[in-house]
Amino acid sequence: MAALGRPHPALVAGKYLALAAYVAFALFPLYWLVKIAVTPDRLVYSEGTRYWPSAATWDNFREVLGSDFLRFFGNSVIVSLSTAAITAVIAAGGGYAFSRFDFRGKRLVSALLLLTQMFPLLIIIAPIYRIVAALGLLNTLPSLIVTYTAFNIPFALFLMQSFFDGIPKDLEEAAMIDGCRRMQALRKVILPLTLPGLGATLGFVFTAAWSEILFALMLIRKEEHMTFPVGLLNFVSKFSVDWGQMMAAGVLALVPSCLFFAFIQRYLVQGLTSGAVKG
């Protein structure tokens, strides 16, 4: 591109305009979330479509933070972080094996992994419930961690495999000639180069677990073990929806996701392997 010289200013302006329009469109729901969250209850219906309420308040947040909500929140953090960590470790190991080794049954395993992704979750909810019940894990956080991990592994594994595939085999071989055992080569050479992949996998699994509601609803009935998406339903009572508090809770729910992505985003930067081989 650079070789073509500077593009016309109008083109640049147009590009940024288009981007701005897209960003505004994508972020509008978030904006609305925040707006309702700070709108006092009495104004929610009367000033429904104004872009900013005539009076703003932190009351909704105060209410939410004073309720059970913090516990749901904590449960969600535990479940999502554990799921992301366990899945990433298993997916990294499996992805490496799939990328580097030829073993009997490789194609079969990979076909089975794909197969698990083809069923709608609704079909397998009942069997999963029975298995979890038989294991005596109903109403516990580990039940969610185990199921989420199981369901996220196939995709995460293929994702990791593609990242390992992108790392030249020469690098490991060079490391082994330079004196490394395979594990050392993995730790010193391959792992640092896979961090973007690991970051992407962690982020993907974390978000999936954070917003999952179907299993969370089925497997957990006790209030003290509920995760945040289920807890959100508490704001819907039989006769009304407490919009303000629900939105405040929603805003709070965004915080961990944002923090998490802020933390991993530097590993998401691509191009770390450039320069390994002739470019």
């Binding site: 030249p168 020469d170 690098l171 071989e173 060079a174 490391a175 082994m176 000639i177 330079d178 004196g179 490394c180 055992r181 050392q184 010193k188 050479v189 640092p192 180069l193 191009g271 770390l272 392997t273 450039s274 320069g275 390994a276 081989v277 002739k278 470019g279």
Partner: protein, 349 residues
């Protein structure tokens, strides 16, 4: 430093045999070049010496010790990959010091050898850079630096220059030659560039279809190719080959010309530079179909009726017109006779 001995080495993947009966002894400090067409098993052989590929049969010894079962890290060899295989997340200095880092040599002790290697290769100013910020030639140098820093028993190179452009290739070739003179390490070098092979090698190993065709010094292979494959592979432009019927004093070509040949010969090879061109006289008559003027030399692509295409290379320029007929006479001492199986016929004079 140590020699490398291969005896009866073979390699097969499942049912397919890739290498067979490879016997080769690389002497201490010797520079041996493996050449051969693509897919003939050069890389496989090199990777077996490095320990990256299991050996199916035969024995590999480095420094007199059997190495078949020893993992790469125990063989004390360094390898330069075609792709360079630099660690992208490490600086040039750390890349070069990596083998010592793995060997748990303290940081202070590593700096010296790295600095010395950097000096030899002209990398002093680049030590803090990352590989992505280097040019192809610089990466190539860093890869060599990583190899020499360790002072290994032997160096292995797999087409180290094939990713460089022509000018840089020549420069790096000279650099490798200089380095070898300076360090004098046992080296096995894979290439399919025959100029590299001819200029760098103490001895050249010509391979084809998984077997060694001939081992010898560059001039051995040029002057006495053991078979038609080697004759065609070594030398550029390629050797001319003519077939004929045996007569008592030689081989009669299709046009009736008789070229001297020992009994048993069915074909004669003659390098383009050993074919003399004259405007008339007696000998093999051929039509000039294409003229390539290279300045120092001129290539005349000729067609002798019934005999086939012949290329003559003459020094300087010649005054020959396209389409004219010339007489080609071989330098009799430079004729290479081959038998029906393509093996060189030992000349009895």
């Amino acid at each position: 430093m140590a020699g490398i001995e291969l005896s009866g080495i073979a390699k097969s993947y499942g049912g397919t045999e890739v290498l067979r009966d490879v016997d080769l002894a690389v002497g201490e400090g010797e520079f041996v070049v493996l050449v051969g067409p693509s897919g003939c098993g050069k890389s496989t052989l090199l990777r077996m010496i490095a320990g990256l590929e299991p050996i199916s049969a035969g024995e590999l010894r480095i420094g007199g010790r059997r190495m078949n079962e020893v993992p790469p890290r125990g063989r004390d060899i360094a390898m330069v990959f075609q792709s360079y295989a630099l660690y992208p997340h490490m600086t040039v200095a750390r890349n070069m010091g990596f083998p010592m880092e793995i060997a748990h040599r303290p940081k202070a002790e590593r700096a010296g050898p790295v600095a010395r290697a950097a000096e030899v290769l002209g990398l002093q100013k680049l030590l803090d850079r990352y590989p992505r910020a280097l040019s192809g030639g610089q990466r190539q140098r860093v890869a060599m630096g990583r190899a020499i820093v360790r002072q290994p028993q032997a160096f292995l190179f797999d087409e180290p220059l094939s990713n460089l452009d022509a000018a840089l290739r020549v420069e790096m070739r000279l650099e490798i030659a200089r380095l070898h003179h300076r360090i004098g390490a046992t080296t096995v070098y894979v290439t399919h560039d025959q100029v590299e092979a001819m200029t760098l090698a103490d001895r050249i190993v010509v391979m084809n279809a998984g077997r060694i065709q001939q081992v010898g010094t560059p001039m051995d292979l040029y002057d006495r190719p053991a078979n038609r494959f080697v004759a065609g592979f070594i030398g550029s432009p390629t050797m001319n080959m003519v077939e004929g019927t045996p007569v008592p004093d030689g081989l009669r070509l299709a046009d009736g010309t008789v070229w001297p040949a020992p009994p048993g010969a069915r074909a004669l090879g003659i390098r383009p530079e050993h074919l003399h061109v004259s405007p008339d006289g007696t000998g093999l008559r051929a039509e000039v179909q294409l003229i390539e003027r290279l300045g120092s030399d001129t290539n005349l692509f000729c067609e002798a009726p019934g005999v086939g295409p012949l290329l003559a290379r003459v020094h300087g320029d010649v005054n020959v017109a396209l389409g004219s007929t010339v007489v080609l006479t071989p330098d009799l001492a430079r004729l290479h006779p081959f038998d029906a199986e393509g093996r060189r016929v030992v000349q009895i004079r």
